[in-house]
């Protein structure tokens, strides 16, 4: 491997997230290849092939890909990479939205306009939520019993409750 390729590889590794760093280089390639697959059908086989996994047939390669995708470490890496891709897709999405906005005849012009307005100046609404809580019969009964106990105990001049807090045992 040339010095230039090694440096590029190191740079790419430095950019990776924690989930990707936990994978082997081959597994990392598999995860990245999943996002480069030409179509969703057979993306696992494609990615396994691109990552360098070897098998006697494509079916076996598909099984290897399924096993890889079931690995929790790889699933975490896929989730992490998906977030990165979605963030990176932001500018492209804005460009597309701008194209639609610039074309009033586009069939989705109104919808995109609404989406943009919702995000730029969202409609503020005040909702008055009235929460009514009704105590369960058992809770209410308990409260009534305790209140009655307090009343009668005060009347009879006896302690309403008994403190049953255990006393700490003396050290031997």
């Amino acid at each position: 491997m040339s010095a230039v390729t090694e440096t590029a590889e190191e740079t790419r590794v430095a950019d990776l997230g924690p989930a990707m760093l936990k994978l082997t280089p081959k597994q990392r390639k598999f995860v990245l290849a999943l996002f480069e697959a030409p179509r969703s059908h057979g993306e696992g086989t494609f990615a396994a092939e691109m990552a360098g996994y070897q098998a006697k047939s494509r079916d076996v390669l598909g099984v290897i890909a399924s096993q890889l995708k079931a690995d929790p470490k790889i699933q975490a890496a896929i989730a992490e990479t998906s977030r990165l891709y979605l963030t990176a897709l932001g500018p492209a999405a804005v460009r597309s939205a701008r194209r639609v906005l610039n074309n009033p005849k586009h069939r989705d012009h109104g919808r995109v306009l609404g989406i943009v307005f919702d995000r730029v100046s969202p409609v503020q609404s005040t909702a008055l939520v009235k929460v009514e809580h009704e105590a369960a019969p058992s809770m209410r009964a308990t409260a009534e019993v305790l209140e009655r106990i307090m009343q009668l105990a005060a009347r009879a001049k006896v302690p309403p409750m008994i403190d049953v807090t255990p006393t700490p045992e003396k050290a031997l």
Binding site: R148, A153, R155, V158, I162
Partner: protein
């Protein structure tokens, strides 16, 4: 201090000598209606029971029972004056509890039994004094 009858006098015997020797507390005990004496002992028993841990509904039942004891000559002050029963009194009450209601009431009417309870819990005499005050006011 209430003296015990030794030997215990039967109802047919002459009590005049014994009655002539009564002190104030003994006279008070003799003139307090037996039902009230029994009630005061029960109050002391309930107050002792309330000192132990128990479910809230049972505690409420005991307190309601205490409240129901307050009637006629037995005023709220008299009920409040009674102190919880001691261990010995509770043991005695436990033995009495095994009897039928009829026998229990007969036993509680006996001088020596109620005297023993009063000696163990002098607050019973104090409560009887309050009962006597109410009775005197009612009679006057």
């Amino acid at each position: 201090m209430i003296r015990l009858q030794e030997p215990e006098l039967s109802p047919l015997q002459d009590h005049s000598a014994w009655q002539a020797s009564w002190n104030d507390d003994e006279r008070l005990l003799a003139y307090t209606p037996p039902g009230y004496r029994h009630d005061l002992v029960i109050i002391s028993q309930v107050k002792r029971a309330l000192q132990s841990q128990m479910p809230d509904d049972l505690r409420l039942e005991f307190l309601e029972g205490l409240d129901r004891c307050v009637r006629d000559l037995l005023t709220l002050e008299a009920m409040q004056r009674v102190e919880p029963a001691c261990d010995t009194a509770m043991k005695m009450l436990h033995e009495i509890g095994a009897l039928s209601m009829h026998d229990r009431c007969r036993l509680m009417c006996k001088w020596n039994v109620i005297a023993a309870f009063c000696n163990l819990n002098p607050s019973l005499i104090e409560a009887m004094k309050l009962v006597a005050c109410v009775r005197e006011r009612a009679n006057s």
